[in-house]
Subunit: 337 residues, 2 copies
Amino acid sequence: MASHRQSDGGPPPLRRRPPPCVLLLRHPPHFALLDRPLPEDRFRFLRPGDSPLPFDDFLATDDARSAEAILTSQGVPVTADILQRLPGVRLVVTTSAGLNHIDLAECRRRGVAVASAGEVYSDEVADLAIGLLIDVLRKVSAGDRYVRRGSWSSEGEFALGSKLGGKRVGVVGLGRIGLQVAKRLEAFGCTVSYNSRTKKPYVSYPFYSDVHELATNCDALVICCGLNKQTHHMINREVLLALGKEGVIVNIGRGSIIDEKEMVQLLVQGELGGAGLDVFENEPNVPEELLALDNVVLSPHTAVFTTESLSDLCDLVVGNLEAFFSDKPLLSPVLDE
Amino acid sequence: MASHRQSDGGPPPLRRRPPPCVLLLRHPPHFALLDRPLPEDRFRFLRPGDSPLPFDDFLATDDARSAEAILTSQGVPVTADILQRLPGVRLVVTTSAGLNHIDLAECRRRGVAVASAGEVYSDEVADLAIGLLIDVLRKVSAGDRYVRRGSWSSEGEFALGSKLGGKRVGVVGLGRIGLQVAKRLEAFGCTVSYNSRTKKPYVSYPFYSDVHELATNCDALVICCGLNKQTHHMINREVLLALGKEGVIVNIGRGSIIDEKEMVQLLVQGELGGAGLDVFENEPNVPEELLALDNVVLSPHTAVFTTESLSDLCDLVVGNLEAFFSDKPLLSPVLDE
């Protein structure tokens, strides 16, 4: 990451032209959370909220049409319509690792470059995935509730957990995050296998082209893939049933990769053993039924949220903008896949 | 573990003498939790609770004095007095890895063999240690509470966590469990160092002979040592202050290794960053002040409690009794240290 960190004196000023205009579809909360200002001296950040016009009318203003880049975050879409109406835009930077809010096909068609959070979050997300898996198997959050409500002293010993070592864990999506999850699982003595669009030549874990078959051969699944048309509701009722009554699912990808309604029903009925969920289909709303279950751990989409990763992310966002407008390669370009 | 598992037909009966008498100081909950009977066909288990006499008087009966072995658990002491009054006892088996409830010096003096849980629990305990560390740093249990009480949808984004990777973690006690903790920490990109009675020749982690010095050089401590006179309140106010405002302590050893009162005060005052605690000084009582803190995770002494480890433990207990009374080596003898 050192390559895009600012040196003490900051990078040389971008000469020969006025500061490039960056449309802030949403002020990235990462900067605010760290009390870190945007580099207003080197870019002109345009905030639709500062205009009295409705967003749709705002897009038609000369000001909006002067934008050369868009900075956005997870959940704030960059649609084909926006891109068509802002023909000056040549770069989209998102603070997320996921890209499902950006019309990548339209970007590609228009020659708009896209930069993402890249690998900034991989370790954090993998750490939380393992934390959620341990928590579900060993009932950590449930045990914490047990102690806090006074049940340990009044009701005696707490329920038995299940051992992580020896478990067959399937990693769904063996990208940057999935590989980090697999590495950690090995240290716990788990047997790792995976499902992915294509077999990876550089790993020796068993590959299953079919996620249902993976689930049949696993005690737990960790969802690490991105959300797209192919992965939407990929973890359906049949996959969850294949995982079984003792099976555990961990999701640090996107909520809609799992058919949430079916998952909730199976958890309530005891047809699925447990779940550790950082993401949900309709955030921040969590299905009411889950709130009463002791075999689920509910996390408010915090997989990427550490002080360290936000700081790295802010460096990366600014670094990508600076690189692009200095005609240098993006630090974290989104690869065509 | 296979060596002490029963074959289908069971081991050959112990011939030439009546079944050895085993004093059950406490029925090991492990068997009950798994609905598994004790091997009453091969041993005569003597339960003090079956006698109308007070325990002290019971020890004077011929029945008690016929005991050749004692089976006990954590928290049920085997004192010098008991051993002196039951001169026929040649073996003490405990279901725990910790040995602080057994007068080892008296056992040694009397030539009484001692068998413990050995390595049965090491993986489980190390897994929970890592789970607690991730939970404190990434606020998993606190996040789960945040979701369950509806705060995510009403109050918005949850607090930032702290990254595990890159943290300097000190392992206090690099025995079987400590080594497993260290191995897992490495997979998360942590820098491991340790404190132990003696420097271990077989590891390359930096060694600190002084636990205060270790704390000064670490972001987190994981307590993995046994409780004895030397380690009682070893983690005192000074050590905790050296760990600091961002520092995290995880205890899966015994509660009294930490000066709990001081720890609680420092946590409340914000002088210590957080704590993941599976053990407490006065179990099952947990200091009231901790119940209100979001930077602590409270676990009801479950580190060893998985279905898998209890099953292995039951095999080991029976295996140790059978080995001893067949004049074979114990499966998990306690080594003189």
